[in-house]
């Protein structure tokens, strides 16, 4: 396998019904990557995925999958390429009258009839997704998580090199979602399958994706590796998606007290993000020492992006323009990103904290 072999190349892709849903999408996905496509509802994520799995034909542009043109080709050719694509849908969609094993075998049985190879591959996949002993269970006898595992095994049947996942964790509780995501990452490593998943939830992306692509109003507004996206988001949509994830925002009643401009004798509220690199240093302590300021930590959380830890803190510092400016500069040099949220009048500044 070449290191830079591209699994998918999307060029100038556009899709419109009466209005344009997707506009000029350009995207390259290297083999073996886990790419997350994130966006709010109505951003065009599902339509993009439906173009990739062949359920929709793009209006303009081309999609190339494993070096084979996927758009504008004959039905027969498209179906042949579709056999390389596995799909995990939002709802599990198993055939209710087939057992777990028969459901996994279904894609290949559809085309090749009965054979021992199909049976043994299905059995192997079913074990790989952790469903030993459930081969003969019917979908009605499986839990939501187990059914989704069957659907993943089914999606991987045959010669699948690309797995497309559509908001597939939305019907599962968070714990089960995490288990399924872990499974996907494991399958990605073991089978070398490229995974594209679409979601509106940054928590899902953070768990599993190598790269993230942010979709807004049918366009890709930002694309970067996961760490950069989370630590240095550029676009407002990205920022707002992340805000849900890593910031424990101030309670609403405190936000109301927050002034936009500093007043005489007030506290500045700062939000600090630091990555694992910065998290190793005693930053707060050294700021306190260097600038001789009492720093009060109001809210804090630690988070992880895959194996990287990073933290977010909200602190209050007595406001002095010069000091604050220097502190911000200093923080920036230590690769801590700081943002002033607002200012509290001094009288109420600390009282609400106790």
């Amino acid at each position: 396998m070449e290191p830079h072999f591209l699994s998918i190349i999307i060029k100038n892709l556009g899709k419109s019904y009466n209005v344009a849903i997707l506009k000029d999408i350009n995207l390259e996905v290297p083999q073996n990557q886990i790419l997350g496509i994130i966006g709010k509802s109505g951003a065009g994520k599902s339509t993009l995925l439906r173009c990739l799995n062949g359920l929709e034909q793009p209006t303009t542009g081309t999609i190339t999958i494993d070096n084979q043109l996927f758009t504008g080709v004959s039905d027969k050719e498209r179906r042949r390429i579709q056999h390389k694509i596995g799909n995990v849908f939002q709802s599990v969609n198993l055939l209710s009258r087939l057992t777990a094993l028969e459901n996994v075998m279904f894609p290949l049985k559809l085309f090749k009839g009965n054979s021992k190879d199909i049976h043994s591959q299905a059995l192997k996949l079913l074990h790989l997704v952790g469903l030993n002993g459930k081969e003969n269970a019917y979908p009605s006898q499986l839990s939501g998580g187990q059914a989704q595992r069957v659907a993943i095994a089914r999606a991987l049947m045959g010669d699948v090199s690309l797995l497309l996942c559509d908001e597939f964790t939305s019907a599962l509780d968070f714990e089960t979602s995490l288990e399924i995501l872990e499974l996907l990452r494991d399958l990605n490593k073991r089978l070398g399958v490229t995974i594209i998943l679409i979601t509106h939830d940054m928590a899902i992306v953070r768990e599993i994706c190598d790269e993230v692509c942010v979709l807004e109003a049918g366009q890709i507004v930002e694309k970067n590796d996961i760490t950069s996206i989370l630590l240095h988001p550029q676009h407002t949509v990205t920022k707002s998606l992340i805000r849900h994830l890593i910031t424990k925002d101030l309670p609403h009643h405190l936000q109301e007290k927050l002034n936009k401009t500093p007043t005489d004798k007030c506290f500045a509220l700062l939000r600090l993000f630091f990555s694992s690199k910065a998290a190793g240093d005693p930053i707060i302590a050294s700021i306190v020492k260097t600038y001789d300021v009492p720093i009060n930590i109001l809210l804090g959380s630690l988070d992880h992006i895959r194996e990287t830890a990073f933290g977010s803190l909200i602190v209050s510092i007595p406001f002095e323009l010069e000091k604050i400016t220097n502190i911000m500069k200093d923080l920036d040099q230590r690769s801590v990103s700081a943002e002033i949220l607002g200012y509290f009048p001094q009288s109420g500044g600390h009282s609400w904290n106790s």
Binding site: R78, Q82, H83, N93, F111
Partner: protein, 212 residues
């Protein structure tokens, strides 16, 4: 008398099984046509599904006894005569196929859109989606629907006497009602109840077996 009842029973059996057999074949065909050609179907041809729908509704609203009479010219053409058990089977088949078409159509339509998309995304053809996904998923519903239609057709077959079709219902009318043979009437009613019970139980059993 036993021979009379047995003979009529066999006539009923013949009319019901034959009309159910051919009715199901035609009904499945019509149902597939309806499902495929509906606007959101796999082969959208709204003018087919709509005109077929109007046709089905029109003929389903005709009372069966009138349908038998209306169909006499066709029966004469197809069967050679408009009188007798075989002649009565033709309108029964027609009525059964209308009912079955709607019942199978409904059953096929219960397949979730998502499951059909699974098939499409796998690269399955329309025929594969219909037979290997929709028909397979709908089977328990189809069986329970066919059970209901069978029982309806047993009821309809009583009217076959109008064209000399015979059968238990006809016997009950002619001997039981018109000749005041109350014992025979009760006997036939009991036999019909038993037949219907057996059909329903078999249907329920098959449906339970098919449903997982």
């Amino acid at each position: 008398m036993e021979q009379l009842v047995l003979h009529s029973f066999l006539e009923t059996l013949f009319m019901v099984t034959a009309s159910m057999f051919f009715g199901t074949a035609i009904g499945i065909f019509l149902a597939f046509l309806l499902v495929l050609t509906k606007p959101s179907g796999l082969w959208p041809k709204p003018w087919i599904s709509q005109s077929l729908g109007v046709f089905l509704n029109a003929f389903r609203s005709i009372p069966f006894i009138i349908l038998i009479i209306l169909m006499i010219p066709f029966t004469r053409f197809w069967v050679g005569t408009s009188i007798g058990t075989a002649a009565a089977t033709l309108p029964l088949t027609f009525a059964a196929s209308l009912l079955i078409a709607r019942i199978i159509e409904d059953a096929l339509n219960t397949t979730s859109k998502g499951l059909i998309e699974v098939g499409k995304a796998l690269g399955a053809s329309n025929l594969q989606i219909i037979f290997k996904i929709q028909l397979r998923e709908a089977l328990p519903l189809i069986v329970s629907g066919l059970t209901t239609v069978s029982i309806n057709i047993i009821g309809f077959s009583a009217m076959a006497g109008t064209v000399g079709g015979g059968g238990l219902g006809d016997l009950a009318i002619r001997y039981g009602y018109q000749r005041y043979d109350f014992t025979l009437l009760v006997l036939i009613v009991i036999i019909l109840i038993i037949i219907v019970q057996c059909v329903q139980m078999t249907g329920n059993f098959l449906e339970a077996k098919l449903k997982k």
